[in-house]
Symmetry: C2
Subunit: 411 residues, 2 copies
């Protein structure tokens, strides 16, 4: 019945742009992801991505888990599942959260397809045109991407070594006509590398209560602490108004796309509605497999290993920066996580400078990518220290320093 | 550092509702998914879900594929991946589409986390407040759910045995001030069970060209044809303005959450931007595994098996309906897919009647769930015939018929 001659591979299209919703004007492709493509030449040392070290992924454990899941509950694991998430995995997450003295029940959780989906669902539930989002600058690029699509308006205060400069918030809040969302990355900030001090956490919660703000606590790296002691999660301090996000992407593997939202029960019911419309539910099979891998305390042992490896890499990067960076360059000293932030000599514009850096076979993410509306960060960059081994890190930083020095000499 | 006394499990919450975006008033939990929970008692025969038969899932093939993927490319398969999708899987999809004489290149494809995500991304790109969506009534519930969240406005024409009543569209289109989206389920309509005839397809395309409409062709069941011959996809007839959706949920397994969008290249670039903000990318691991399962023509053999099983089940249901339904009951005779639609005697209101049906240990989805704004379908229901075996189907329809006859006698 179907005519057998092939259709044209590319026909003259209608003008799609006239059909698009107004919000698409705010939606852009992630600078990071586009960059990743450009820097994927094998001879480039890239500090641009946010990739965990693949050689540490527990491949053998996954294989055992896949076999067990398919042998014992194959049909169930391949079938549709509940939007809320696979109950045994939710029980695992409750257990994991208890470590931070966050005692929640499965009904306080929604399993999401990565933390990026959690950010999108927050956008869907909370962000209207010109909705106020209070955040740090720089801030997490993925959050900007998610919320730009809902036409958010950002009010940002700078970061320093102690995290978001909360003392600048009252002035910002005074100007807002309606309450807003307060977006915080308290531990090992992406891209800043900084951790919000306990005093600042206290003050933040005080402000949130006074101004009736919803707190979004984004904590993908909490487990990856290499020194110092855990600080109190905001969720624990203000559970009545906090939405807490975390993920298995950094502790197990990002290719599963498994993360979760912790929130009060009535709000989880709303998130479930939003997720039904967004992707029905997160993959049943990967949830079964993750539950199997997590059995018998695997993650605790695995995180210990990750901490060891990543902290050595962080140290290698910090030492190399000291050795190779030109004068008037400053960088954060993260106590955990995967990133650090470099403020270069003001003469270096990290956007255009990237071309020179790739000629020196090294890559990073220019700072502007992490600023709402790209306003700021023109002499800053984000470096990832989790992906490359120590020798590669030292060589990459050497190349970066050389390129910078040449740039400064030439200008 | 973290205080060790537990936080309250449930604290007095802030009033979340005042913080929510206006669009959340349109977002409701799916009637089907809530129903599914209620009807999950093991002694109920449920025709309510849209579940494939789990006993046919290729569990062994998945196990072999998982082992091969993890042995040969474990770290890659567990790492972050490109938003566009895993290239070898996209090549598989191109090959599959070629069967319908749709010749596309990988750049015409975006892998999505189930077709539900494709519908959500269409909403994000195209649907503004009061955006016109032209569809059938009844129509697919998941599409309503996805687009309600973007405040769509629906203009619906009835279905008959030949699909959407396209001759009623000119009157609808006359009233629209701006162009809109035309949402079509041409093959084995969910919930209607009908297939759009070739004449109607021709006329639909003519109208779309005249009124500059974007066509959304949702085709999850295309492979599951039990009689008759394939008709020409709208994408093939009007590739310049059609977005074609399909999925592995019905042919492989829904628990993977793997589907795809086919569209002109410039539009795929827009979809990629939207997906980056929505969930970064679809799971790497399940894409690797699906590619492995698809190797050496597996799906062709498997679909043959599915067709055999589902067509027997469809026949069993059709025969049982003839035997057990009361007078003045009409149902569609689907040539494929997983559902049929029953119009009951007008005295039966399928919403309230569901309570009686569950007392008779049988369940269905009331028709109103498939109507925009729930306006219509009050005496109709959707029945699924893919999940239960033939004996169970006959017994379930017997129960349903008995309940209906009692209802009619009592009223």
């Amino acid at each position: 019945m179907i005519p057998s001659e092939p259709i044209l591979r590319e026909v003259e299209n209608i003008d799609w742009e006239v059909h698009l919703a107004a919000r698409t004007q705010r939606m852009k492709s992630s600078v990071i992801r586009e960059l990743l493509k450009l820097t994927m030449q094998p001879d480039i040392i890239s500090f641009a991505g946010g990739l965990p070290a693949p050689e540490v992924f527990p491949v053998k454990e996954f294989q055992d888990a896949c076999n067990k899941v398919l042998e014992t509950s194959g049909p169930m694991a391949l079938q549709y599942g509940p939007t809320e998430g696979f109950p045994p995995l939710k029980a695992d997450i409750c257990e994991q959260m208890a470590k931070y003295c966050i005692l929640v029940e499965p009904e306080n959780l929604l399993v999401t397809s990565g933390s990026q989906q959690a950010l999108d669902l927050i956008g869907k539930l909370f962000v209207d045109a010109n909705r106020n989002i209070i955040c740090s600058r720089p801030t997490y690029l993925g959050a900007l991407q998610a919320w730009n699509a809902y036409e958010a308006e950002y009010h940002a205060v700078p970061l320093d070594d102690d995290g978001m400069r909360v003392e600048m918030l009252p002035d910002v809040l005074k100007k807002l006509k309606k309450p807003g969302l307060l977006y915080v990355l308290p531990n090992f900030h992406n891209p800043g590398g900084t951790t919000l001090t306990q005093d600042r956490r206290d003050y933040l919660v005080e402000l949130a209560r006074k101004h009736d703000l919803v707190i979004i606590e984004d904590d993908p790296y909490g487990e990856l602490r290499y020194e110092g002691e855990d600080l109190t999660p905001l969720f624990r301090m203000a559970p009545e108004r906090t939405i807490y996000l975390s993920t298995f992407s950094k502790t197990l593997a990002p290719g599963l796309r498994l993360a979760w939202i912790t929130a009060p029960k009535p709000l989880i019911a709303r998130f479930v509605q939003a997720k039904q419309g967004a992707d029905l539910h997160t993959g049943t099979f990967v949830q079964h497999v993750a539950h199997e891998v997590l059995a018998s305390g695997f993650i605790k042992r695995h995180v210990r290993k990750l901490r060891e490896i990543y902290s050595s890499r962080r140290n290698a990067m910090l030492d190399a920066l000291t050795e190779f960076m030109p004068d008037e360059t400053y960088w954060s000293k993260p106590e955990g996580g995967m990133f650090l932030w470099v403020r270069c000599n003001k003469q270096i514009k990290t956007g255009p400078f990237l071309e020179k850096a790739t000629k020196f076979k090294v890559a990073y993410v220019p700072g502007f990518a992490f600023y709402p509306n790209e306003e700021g960060g023109s002499s800053s960059m984000r470096l990832n220290f989790s992906y490359s081994d120590e020798d590669t890190i030292v060589e990459g930083i050497r190349r970066l320093g050389t390129a910078m020095k040449e740039e400064l000499a030439g200008s």
